[in-house]
Symmetry: C2
Subunit: 206 residues, 2 copies
């Protein structure tokens, strides 16, 4: 039994609920917080409160933002005909960093996951359906959920749901990441890379 | 460039100052905090404030505590003749967990480290000296600083400082940890294990 006083124990237990923080890191962080000067500690708690107060979801793309619609949705330079569907706000920032995509986004805030009891209604899929019916200019939906069982199930569900609408539904290519060795690739990735192979030069005449 | 709103960016930057939290985990935690319900978020910030408000240093052993003197220093069952000197409050809890030690503690809150500009006065060594002069019943000081350059320098400094007082100064044994293979032991550990070897049976008559 660790002989911490109740308030320290409570702090440790709250910190260890954060993602990626185990018991040992929670203790480290707790003692770091106790040793902070007052200004530092206030900056930490204030930034938590400020971010929570000022952040809402964009009514259009559901991304976290401090103004509605968000900077991306309200940017006149962006291509309004394409919507890229991602699981989390972090994914938006990953695509923005790559500077390769100039369309709009839709953040699902979750995926369809029967095991964790996560339904379609726990994601923003209903908002997406609604958005697509209101915005006739959208011609393509790119599904960029993760290459996991849940991400793929969500992609499948979305593609079936959207099929009657006539909107083009695409999924990000699966294959070997750049810089990777074939030797270390897993079977599923290899299979996907083989199935999704692209032609580099024209075929023989038959 | 990540397109986070300023308040989210500020939260991420405050979180990434915590020990062991890199940029990616800070983003993960920030979005987790944004997705928390109000009660959870309040529990987190309240526990930070409560721990900081109610926690002070024990005037005797300098450990973090919510009452002064701390439960260990005020426990009549503990052996008041021995003081185990550790670097951090976490080390106290590690020793308590082992249930092997029944004396008192002294928490240095740091070590002597010229490279990081940490002086003796940045630790609670002056408080320890003061405590030893006030408490004549203390006969042994066990130095349990880490087996690092800084921990050893601090141990050496303390042992020289206390030598004239007549108090027995000891240092935790250094050697092979239980369950370890000699094959994987580093040279310094092997050297210490050899130098600190213990007799298992009596010697031959000379």
């Amino acid at each position: 039994m660790a002989r911490y006083s109740p308030s320290i124990q409570n702090l440790i237990s709250n910190l260890s609920k954060l993602p990626g923080i185990g018991g040992k890191s929670a203790q480290n962080i707790a003692f770091h917080i106790l040793a902070m000067d007052d200004a530092e500690a206030a900056a930490l708690t204030d930034s938590i409160n400020a971010a929570r107060t000022s952040t809402k979801r964009c009514s259009c793309c559901q991304n976290f933002t401090d103004r509605d619609p968000c900077p991306i949705c309200s940017d006149p330079e962006r291509d309004k005909t394409t919507v890229l569907v991602v699981e989390t706000p972090r994914d938006v920032s990953t695509f923005e960093r790559a500077r390769e995509y100039n369309g709009l986004y839709h953040v699902l805030h979750g995926v369809f996951d029967p095991i964790k009891n996560k339904n379609i209604s726990d994601t923003t899929i209903p908002d997406l359906i609604n958005r697509l019916s209101q915005h006739e200019e959208i011609t393509e939906v790119i599904i960029a959920t993760n290459q996991t069982a849940e991400g793929n199930a969500t992609a499948l569900y979305l593609s079936r749901m959207l099929a009657p609408s006539g909107i083009t539904v695409t999924r990000l290519a699966s294959g070997l990441p750049m810089g990777s060795d074939i030797e270390y690739a897993d079977d599923l990735t290899l299979m996907n890379a083989l199935r999704g192979r692209v032609t580099l030069a024209g075929g023989r005449e038959g």
